[in-house]
Symmetry: C2
């Protein structure tokens, strides 16, 4: 029932997944509505069943409130089924805050996990990098950045098949003088986790699309900004491209010459082809699809959700890696060195002089 | 002396500004080097003078250390001149952290300002929006976001000529359930400042390039990420564009048809045409140019720096607007040397961070 184009796109996507990949799909929602849509998709012979849920969480509802006040929502019913083992994965294109909240409340967190996080593929180099957290945790502690690195590593290793995924922390510059308290503290812990975590250091916004790292660790506030800028800048560029490939005779002719390449680029930028973002750190496979998902995106997201490696290996690996986080690891504070001491003296002199100077 | 392409690009840019706009330029740096470059540019008849500075702050130096330890650097000498009234504006393409730090130490902050910030133009809609802070203040308080809104408003009003600049706070979604403690608290203050500040609410990363707001307020950590993603994504797209407009006969033919439009787009995306980012909130006109600035960028930055409105009106407006921030929104009033105290805190934070940083 969730998503801007639901129920049409979700049901059609389910039918496509069942038809193309033979995946068994359970549709949780208003039975009457879902049946009508299934009929429209000639899905009678497909391995699709319906489980009725009488309530719907809308896109604008406050997540906590929605989860607590609507025990019969499709979200609730779906996660309860997953918890009872009546399914391998649960996918929703609805209110992502509520989806994450319901997963945490109903499935619970994996052992050792403090904050589950959303991992999103972003275009990078010739392939994709995983950005985690994609917007669930707006305020985080340093430990959370560490667990995001752990969860991203497990996913990249088993789902993307990268043996030693390169993990970078998104910051405002190379390590040393840059970063904030959180990134600096998380870096110390991640460095101590070698070789379990292949931490490569800070990366900047410029590096995300360069293929510098396989896993880009950040808090949910910055993560959301990153994703939305890419979306916004991407459509800004697409608009511009359409404008000069399409206007006038020259533009139209140019378009005819290169339209296949333009489509290929658009497809590579369109992460919806990869289908959905996992909510990592919960006790089960919870998948979140973009609110604007069309049928094809839903189809792909169902394929990703049902992936053998995701269903069987990722969570086990997360729990194992979480155990390897050094207990209470914190940056060691070194005693003030000579350089710092000299600097303090210079600074004091300067300040004394400024205070003595007549104010303007 | 500062910038990746200095001294060639800076001196040539100065010669261009003097020639094209008749601006009087004082070049601060190694006299011998500057004279050689001026000779190369046939600048003898131009209104350019040289002031010698024996030291140079390099791009890799830690800002505090550089500012404190090199009293004869071109940065120091330049700002001291500005403070004595021997110039209207100071521009540097060097180490931006050191440039900002030197401005704060030597010029001091404007009355009421806690944290000066860098305002950067970003492509938006048919024009540009101003992103503030562009990376100077990595850790901020809610009050700082408010003063960034004030400073951005003053600049957009007088330099860009927008009478009621629309101010948005960069966040992870519309107001209500989104944002963090800082953005929510700053929003309350900004709303109370109507009509002096035209606060339009939260905006997301998606809105930055859409022309939704004229002033985009954010902390320096997120601001840096935003700018670098745009840079990175921009060159990613440029690479892709080059690849399909240039490969094979079809691509080359398409390029011939639309290359003028491609150049126009690139020029619009290239904010270096606007020339430099002001460091707002200091007692003077301090302008920061991108480290990779070429001669044309320097020329344009000099024109911006010397703009009548910037030199005469922006700082006055900032001080006036700062007075209108509701007293409750201000951090606790500090004793007599308030300005010095704030600076001391800033420097101390920086030093603590240096101690925590791994030694290289």
């Amino acid at each position: 029932m969730g998503g801007d184009l639901a129920p049409e796109a979700t049901v059609e996507g389910a039918a496509l997944a069942a038809r193309d990949f033979g995946i068994e799909v359970v549709l949780v929602g208003d039975r009457r509505v879902v049946e009508r849509e299934l009929a429209r998709n000639h899905a009678a012979i497909l391995p699709i069943t319906i489980v009725h849920a009488s309530e719907v969480v809308s896109m604008s509802e406050e997540p906590v409130e929605a989860v607590l006040a609507k025990p019969n929502s499709s979200l609730h019913v779906g996660y309860e089924m997953l918890k009872r083992g009546e399914g391998d994965a649960f996918l929703s294109a609805g209110n992502s805050g509520a989806t994450a909240m319901a997963a945490m409340v109903i499935l619970g967190n994996l052992a050792g996990v403090d904050r589950p996080a959303m991992a999103l593929p972003v275009p990078s180099g010739r392939d994709h990098a995983l950005l985690i957290d994609g917007g669930i945790n707006v305020e985080v502690k340093a430990f959370n950045l560490v667990e995001f690195a752990v969860m991203g590593t497990a996913y990249a290793r088993h789902v993307s098949g990268i043996i030693r995924p390169r993990v970078g922390i998104l910051s405002d510059g190379a390590e040393g003088f840059n970063g904030n308290d959180l990134t600096r503290s998380a870096a110390v812990t991640l460095r101590a986790m070698a070789p379990d975590i292949n931490y490569i250091g800070n990366i900047t916004g410029r590096d995300i699309n360069r293929g510098t790292a396989d896993v880009v660790v950040t808090d949910g506030f910055s993560g959301n900004i990153v994703l939305k800028i890419m979306e916004g800048f991407g459509s800004f560029m697409a608009r511009e491209l359409r404008e000069f490939l399409g206007a006038g005779l020259r533009g139209k002719l140019a378009y005819l010459l290169v339209h296949k390449r333009v489509s290929a680029l658009q497809q590579r930028l369109d992460t919806s082809e990869l289908g959905g973002a996992p909510l990592l750190g919960v006790n089960g496979v919870a998948m979140i699809a973009h609110g604007s998902s069309n049928a094809r995106t839903i189809r792909n997201a169902i394929r990703t959700s049902a992936g053998e490696a995701l269903v069987r290996q990722v969570n086990t690996e997360i729990v194992e890696l979480m155990c390897k986080i050094p207990p209470g690891a914190r940056p060691a504070i070194r005693p003030a060195g000579e350089r710092i001491g000299a600097l303090f003296n210079l600074l004091r002199e300067r300040l004394v002089r400024m205070e003595a100077a007549p104010s303007k």
